[in-house]
């Protein structure tokens, strides 16, 4: 450990629970974020016998929220079997929400402010908010502030003249500052790094095969609790193949051109991009003492974390490239290199996100010029990458992904350490909208 990290006590991971992730518009159509997060919490409570337990804190969030979800996590706690006195708050950092929640609670545990906590997240596309346009919204607000019926009618009159104002605004995953969707942003990065269609499809294929195998092996028996009749992630396809993936038509980057003005091949398909998904996850953290007092299993330590941001607005860097900057800082601070990592859990927003990140770390110029490193950061051993699948197969309910990965990583390092007798480490990397990257280091306990 580098001496620059102040000495604090450990925050450990006891275990996790999530509901199966489901493709948008399928099993969880009539299910809210609060329903899903409460279910994830209830499964966690049942797994570890936490009924009536007063936890230090429950932290999580959702990226897409209805206005009634203003106190989503607290409301979920109140609807759970945890002690109602357990405090909670919402947090939001786009797709980094779940992992950032883990960082927030583990820091409090490390500082001795709390003994135990749950971090997680939830997201639903199926129950996403639909807003009214600004013109209608202003008219409605003005009417609600009006003191007389006359004023109220006056406020609402303009709506009659503008029927178009009644059209709802559906949620948009586009970047507010560029207007580009995440896929189009990533298509730029993919093209910049010259990532091939085949390489992306291979990542997608591995993700499905690995996740399917993990399900078959029972890896998720103590990580997932069925919900609403769904007992497995419904996006995973164990029978997909390179041929099937190769048949899919590109959906992003269809009008890109090279420096010479010639069109570039579009490589990103629905197969190598994550589908919109519903789901929720929760992870139980504590001090070592708290776990030992209750004789609860300790899977891993949540060692350290690092976040980064990049300037994608002016086109200097790719939207989803921030983890490339965060990870070297994280590992260097902990005296580690990529070779010291046993499991790389790199969130697959798109197959090419993983590949451009790996390519960046292998690129000497990039590492020197952009990351300020003396040379290339290093090469990731592909056999250690997302060994039990990732978001391409599981799906990606934005805020729920962090919890999925943390619990999986903790179980992986625990099993590996038990098998080899020496410590095992996992690196977690999650890219997020707004040019953000959230990364963390987990080590067997």
């Amino acid at each position: 450990m580098a001496s620059s990290i102040p000495t604090t006590r450990e925050a450990v991971i006891i275990g996790g629970n999530r509901i199966p992730f489901s493709r948008a518009g399928k099993k969880y159509v009539r299910t809210s974020n609060q329903d899903m997060f409460t279910a994830a919490l209830e499964g966690l409570v049942a797994r570890f016998g936490l009924q009536g337990e007063l936890l230090g804190e429950v932290v999580g969030g959702a990226v897409l929220k209805n206005s009634r979800n203003f106190n989503l996590i607290r409301e979920s706690v109140l609807g759970s079997s945890l002690a109602p006195a357990t405090p909670a708050y919402d947090l939001q950092q786009a797709c980094g929400t779940g992992l950032e929640a883990a960082i927030a609670v583990t820091n409090k545990i490390k500082l001795g402010q709390i003994e135990s906590a749950v971090a997680g997240g939830t997201d639903t596309i199926s129950d996403a908010p639909i807003a009214v346009g600004d013109n209608l919204r202003r008219a409605l607000l003005q009417a609600s502030h009006a003191r007389s019926t006359g004023d109220r009618i006056k406020a609402l009159l303009p709506v009659l003249g503008h029927p178009k104002w009644l059209a709802p605004e559906t949620p948009d995953t586009g970047e507010p500052r560029t207007g580009l969707s995440m896929g189009e942003h990533q298509a730029l990065t993919t093209a910049k790094w010259g990532i091939s269609r085949e390489a992306q499809d291979e990542i997608a294929l591995k993700s499905h095969q690995n996740l399917h195998r993990a399900w078959e092996e029972g890896f998720f028996d103590d990580l997932v609790t069925p919900f609403r009749g769904l007992s497995r992630d419904d996006n995973v396809r164990g029978d997909t193949s390179a041929e099937k993936l190769a048949k899919l038509k590109p959906v992003f980057g269809k009008s890109l051109t090279g420096d010479d003005g010639a069109p570039l091949p579009a490589t990103m398909t629905a197969g190598n991009s994550t589908p919109l998904t519903d789901g929720a996850s929760a992870v139980l953290f504590s001090s070592r003492d708290w776990a030992e007092e209750r004789d609860l299993p300790v899977l891993a330590k949540f060692v350290d974390a690092e976040t980064a941001g990049v300037d994608f607005v002016h086109g200097h860097e790719g939207l989803l490239m921030a983890p490339a900057a965060a990870v070297p800082r994280l590992l260097t601070r902990n005296g580690l290199t990529l070779e010291d990592i046993d499991f790389f859990e790199i969130h697959e927003a798109f197959a090419s996100t993983v590949l451009t990140t790996l390519a960046a770390w292998e690129d000497e110029d990039y590492c020197r010029d952009e990351l300020g490193l003396p040379g290339a950061f290093g090469k990731v051993d592909r056999s250690r990458l997302n060994v039990n699948g990732s978001s391409l197969a599981a799906g990606h309910p934005f805020a729920a992904t962090g919890g999925r990965i943390v619990a999986t990583a903790a179980k992986l390092v625990h099993a590996k350490a038990a098998e080899t007798g020496s410590p095992a480490r996992a690196l977690i990397s999650v890219c997020a909208a707004g040019g953000l990257g959230v990364t963390a280091l987990v080590e067997s306990a």
Partner: protein, 447 residues
Amino acid sequence: MTDSYTRFANGGFKPLVKKLGLPQPAILRRYKAGSPLTVGPVLVVSDDASAADGDAVAKVLAGWDLDVRRSADLAEGEKLGAVVLVLSGATHPEDVSAAVLTVGGTLRKLAGNGRVVAVSRAPEDGDAPALAATRAGVEGLVRSLGKELRGGSTANGVQLTDGAAVDSVSAVATLRFFLSAKSAYVDGQILPVGPSDASGQIDWDQPLAGKVAVVTGAARGIGAAIARTMARDGAKVVVVDVPPAGEALSAVANSVNGVALQLDVTADDAADKILAAAKPLGGLDILVHNAGITRDKLLANMKADRWDSVIAVNLASQLRINERLLEAGVEGLRIVSLASTSGIAGNKGQTNYGYSKAGVIGHTAATAPLVAAAGGTANAVAPGFIETEMTARIPFATRSVARMLPSLAQGGEPVDIAEAICFLASDPAAGVNGRTLRVCGQHLVGK
């Protein structure tokens, strides 16, 4: 829930049902914390040779604040809650007639949901023929009387073995179970009870206080009822079911302040997972092998997967888990396995299920001495027709007939199975080992 015919037969149509000679199932009285042990005074009757044992039993009953009578004379209109017939000292069949006929004279004064419990000794190797006949005869008496009683009343027998005293802990606990509303659906059964080391103050309201119990197949039905009843009796519970049943399982766990373990009991490492899950709660004390499946087919049409999966879940998993737990040397382990009346009387279309459930009865008897070495017991409970989601899928006519067959003329509730299991798993029942207790409302056929 009481079935619709029982509700009908106890509603405004009760006189009509009686006049037409239709079955008259009673609303069975079930255990509620704080309610009296019996529905009225308890009469203790003994033959001359059992007078001292009769006194000892009466003394125990008086200690439970029961209104204990030694004479069959009742006030005008008074009803008895229970009759205990003590024949433990009888040595010749001709000795028992006075006591038995005295009991007969009281039956019209037995209240609804009343109890008749015989206390006798089991025939043993070396018994003289007359003694053996005296002892064996009690079983025929109890089973026949069970079929005669009305109004939800039952007849059962405590059968002392190996010189156990009538007021020894396990004999007393078994007598109490039969007298109580906890045995509502147990009828016509003889339970052999041996001596036990169990001692100390018995908390009859929380007989499982401080125990850690693991219940398999606990997401719904009988398993969920077992978990809830175990928790009611003071145990900390780990509920186990296959991963796809996890949603219901976690709801059960949270309702009993327990722990949910998503596990296929046929997995090789099931026993180790069970031990690990019980450890944080204080370590395994009680294991209830409840997980079971049916894959009915006539044997002529039986495919290998249907036969094999039933054997794997209902029988082989129990054997594998027990073996591993014995290896691990769990002290004082109390095992209760679910058998079935199908394993006793047989059932058309259930050769696989019947084999597995008869097998459970077999391995329970064989496991008993093995666990006894470490202070444990292994017993089984054989349910008859129980009202569950599973039996609700049986066609209406078949289901209705199945309900009418037992002496109690109705199906049992999951809680009836749970009560029997909690009794067998409790410390005071330590003298009951290797036995299969039927909870079947006295099913028409089978021993």
